[in-house]
């Protein structure tokens, strides 16, 4: 069994600070996935500690704003880390970046772990839950999602049915 924390708390904190800037989710939410350590290790394994360090430096140099990262390698690592947080999937890197990093592994996408998929942040952007996990309960799909207007339920339209309308040209 691998240790739960193979890296120092300090570097995980740096990774989380950068991840918050990349994803728009705060450290509490990121910890809340239970994936922080695994993702940090995955990034280190995939592109190596020095490249992760250069990415963190580039982000710092940009004042913490990922839009300000100019180096394409650092930027593609930023894309990959954001992609991982949102979907649980480490993606293919851009082909030139893969070459530039001299990676000794195939440039293939993979789901970091089964739980990484279910902890993807993308579902939370629209107040959803991952398909196949964290079910919200029987019938909840009938409720309006946050920000949506109430509409009549089936069977409630006893009156005021619109007459025949045409769809227009």
């Amino acid at each position: 069994m691998t240790p739960k924390t193979s890296t120092s708390a300090r570097s995980l904190d740096d990774f989380l600070t950068a991840s918050a800037a990349l994803t728009g989710f705060g450290a509490f939410d990121l910890h809340g996935t239970g994936m922080a350590g695994l993702y940090h290790r995955t990034a280190l394994e995939q592109v190596g500690g020095p490249a992760v360090g250069r990415f963190l430096d580039a982000l710092d140099a940009a004042g913490g704003d990922p839009d300000g990262i100019t180096d394409e390698t650092a930027r593609d690592i930023a894309r990959a880390i954001a992609h991982m947080w949102y979907l649980g999937v480490w993606p293919q890197l851009a082909a030139p970046v893969h070459t530039a990093l001299g990676r000794e592994r195939a440039n293939t996408a993979f789901t970091v772990s089964p739980e990484a998929y279910t902890e993807g942040l993308v579902w939370r952007t629209f107040d959803g839950h991952p398909a196949g996990a964290k079910p919200p309960g029987f019938g909840t799909w009938a409720d309006p999602p946050p920000g949506a207007p109430a509409v009549p339920r089936a069977g409630e339209r006893t009156s005021g049915l619109p007459g025949p309308r045409e769809a227009g040209p």
């Binding site: 728009g24 894309r79 954001a82 993308v122 959803g128 196949g132 920000g147 339209r157 309308r165 769809a167």
Partner: protein
């Protein structure tokens, strides 16, 4: 203690080939009546245990492409076709690189699953009945093939199937909106699954609106209608004359899955097993009489010179990754092929049986699916609940069938997952990442702007699916190629598949309806069809682009009819050429209308079980075995 089946002696009353929906039901019915049944399943039985089920769930979570077969491990001894086997070419056409050998103008785009439980493990779970009109399109509208039986003949078996599968629905609404005849006062075992917010939004904007397939054509009034599901919901105390119904929970874990909790992954796997799967039926088999042998691939049906089926030859293997099979035979009074439409045809062709009519393998049908997708003007809560809880039923019947295929419209609850691979594709796109890593990448959005953009776009995704009827055509067929065997040496299926102009005209009408639906919804229509790697089903028709997908509804390949010269099986699904050989499943259907076919398939299997019981009773008496005892 009653006598256990004598495993040493490979002689049974019935051999059932395939432990999927039809096979599991036939084995259940005949085992309960006292017959000794051997069920031979080509795939593994791992999904029947709870650890096996959880393993499939993990495989699904870890899969990059969450296609219908993604939770289920590959099996070299019993390979399954996969929708990922097809790739579209840049300027049209397709390449097929899996189990099927495909040579038709268009690809057959559906998969199935060779494993204990069968393809129904990854079905959506919708159980609409076929419309009475669907059984006689030749007589009524001059196309396709008619059934030798009608809706009325099948109606009691529909009810039996609705009990066996555990259907939730609103019979009164089905009768009123679709015109389905039910016996007076009939209610489904469970109350209707609540329709989704997406459905309510559609209804609020579409109900009562009129659309026209072409300018000047008659208007059709839209109405959003709930659909029956084989999915656990709220039992209806009125069912069965007031005796009610108790939902059947998960196979392999007690007290689980007795109600849908909205995992929103019915296809490809229901984590709690609130959706019917044949594993539930198998859990109720009387195991003293029904013996399941998994990892046993039937290679040949054995028959004597008079046409009587004697039994089967099968290949038993241990390791699905590196099979080293042992050839065995088993004998029975009756052999029932229940291995999927394409596998049944393959077995008959390989065995050289049942094909006096030259119809075996022909009439291959599916429900070709056209998709439409767009963005609504407010959040709709996509990716919640069963994949579809309602649809538009008004294009399923009527005189328009004379000239174009009818269609059923499913309202999707899962955003653009099917048309665009959402939400994964949305994340990649907004991050500036294309599918090809060699292409330059965009700058990409990050941070709160990325989060907000994803929420705004995904949260408004809506899509509709048009399931087209495809009529039986002899040219659409399954053959076998003895020069291209699978790992066990059994010839692989060769598919020749195309869409008729009738289907294509139906798609043109469906697209016209789709355009109007998105206008009525005030939605931004994002539907677009073009060639490309993800569009193997692209074609042009009358100057316009279309892309279709398979629905996983293969049928027609051992077609039922009223005469031995023109059909493979009779109305009992019994081969005309072999009185004790049955081929059951969607392969028997002369037409599939616009209804998801599993319920009809189940009804046919239950009907055939009665006939098989009569056949066996005429020859023997059932084994004297006491009533089933409680489990230890």
């Amino acid at each position: 203690m009653s006598p256990a089946p004598r495993h040493g002696r490979a002689r049974y009353d019935v051999i059932v080939v395939g432990a999927g929906l039809s096979g599991s039901l036939v084995a259940k019915e005949l085992g309960d009546k006292g017959w000794r049944v051997l069920v031979l399943e080509a795939g593994t039985g791992t999904l029947g245990s709870w650890p096996g089920h959880l393993g499939a769930l993990d495989t699904y979570y870890a899969a990059l492409a969450k296609v219908p077969n993604s939770p289920y491990r590959p099996n070299a001894a019993a390979p399954s076709p996969d929708v990922l086997d097809l790739t579209g070419l840049p300027s049209g056409g397709y390449r097929s690189h899996g189990y099927f050998l495909q040579q038709g103008p268009l690809p057959y785009g559906s998969d199935y699953l060779r494993a204990g439980g069968g393809t129904v493990l990854h079905w959506l779970g919708l159980t609409p009945r076929m419309h009475p009109e669907d059984f006689r399109t030749r007589r009524t509208y001059g196309y396709g093939r008619d059934w030798p039986i009608g809706y009325d003949d099948l109606e009691p078996h529909y009810r039996a199937a609705e009990r066996a599968l555990g259907v939730a629905g609103d019979a009164a609404e089905q009768a009123d909106a679709i015109g389905l005849p039910f016996p007076d006062g009939y209610v489904y075992p469970m109350r209707a699954i609540p329709r989704s917010y997406v459905d309510d939004v559609f209804a609020s904007r579409l109900d009562g609106a009129a659309v026209r397939e072409t300018p000047g054509a008659p208007a059709t009034t839209l109405r959003v209608v709930g659909v029956p599901h084989a999915r656990n919901g709220t039992p209806d105390p009125r069912y069965d004359g007031g005796r009610g119904y108790r939902p059947v929970g998960a196979a392999g874990l007690p007290n689980y899955g007795e109600r849908c909790v909205g995992n929103a992954s019915c296809v490809p796997i229901c984590p709690v097993q609130a959706k019917y799967t044949p594993l539930k039926t198998q859990a109720s088999w009387d195991r003293r009489r029904v013996r399941l042998l998994t990892q046993a691939v039937v290679s040949r049906v054995l028959a004597d010179g008079t046409g009587r089926a004697l039994g089967v030859e099968y290949l038993e293997y241990e390791d699905p990754a590196a099979p080293a099979p042992t050839t065995r035979t088993a004998e029975a009074d009756i052999v029932v092929l229940a291995a999927h439409a394409i596998e049944n045809a393959r077995l008959l062709l390989v065995s050289g049986l049942g094909n006096h009519s030259d119809q075996v393998g022909r009439n291959l049908m599916d429900h070709p699916v056209l998709l439409g997708w767009g963005l609504l003007d407010h959040p709709v809560g996509p990716f919640r609940g069963p994949a579809s809880t309602a649809g538009l039923e008004c294009f399923r019947t009527g005189p328009a069938r004379r000239s174009r295929s009818p269609f059923r419209i499913e309202i999707s609850n899962w955003g653009w997952s099917w048309p665009e691979g959402s939400p994964g594709s949305d994340v990649a796109r907004l991050l500036g990442m294309g599918a090809d890593p060699a292409q330059p990448r965009g700058k990409g959005l990050f941070g709160p702007r990325l989060r907000a953009a994803l929420g705004r776009e995904i949260g408004r995704q809506v899509s509709v699916q048009f399931l087209m009827e495809q009529e039986a055509e002899e040219r659409n067929r399954v053959t076998v190629d003895r020069r291209r065997p699978d790992r066990l040496g059994i010839p692989r299926p060769v598919l020749t598949y195309d869409l008729s102009d009738r289907v294509k005209s139906g798609m043109a009408a469906a697209k016209a309806v789709s355009d109007q639906i998105f206008r009525l919804l005030d939605a931004e229509d994002r539907t677009a069809y073009g060639p490309g790697p993800l569009s193997p089903g692209w074609f042009r028709f009358e100057g316009r682009d279309f892309t279709f997908n398979g629905a996983g509804h293969g049928g027609g390949t051992h077609v039922m009819g009223d005469a031995p010269g023109t059909s493979v099986v009779d109305s009992w699904q019994r081969c005309w050429d072999h009185p004790n050989l049955y081929a059951v499943g969607c392969g028997s259907m002369p037409s599939m209308g616009t209804s998801n076919p599993s319920l009809t398939m189940a009804a046919l299997a239950l009907r055939s079980s009665e006939r098989i019981h009569r056949d066996l009773t005429a020859a023997h008496r059932p084994a004297a075995v006491g009533p089933q005892e409680g489990r230890p």
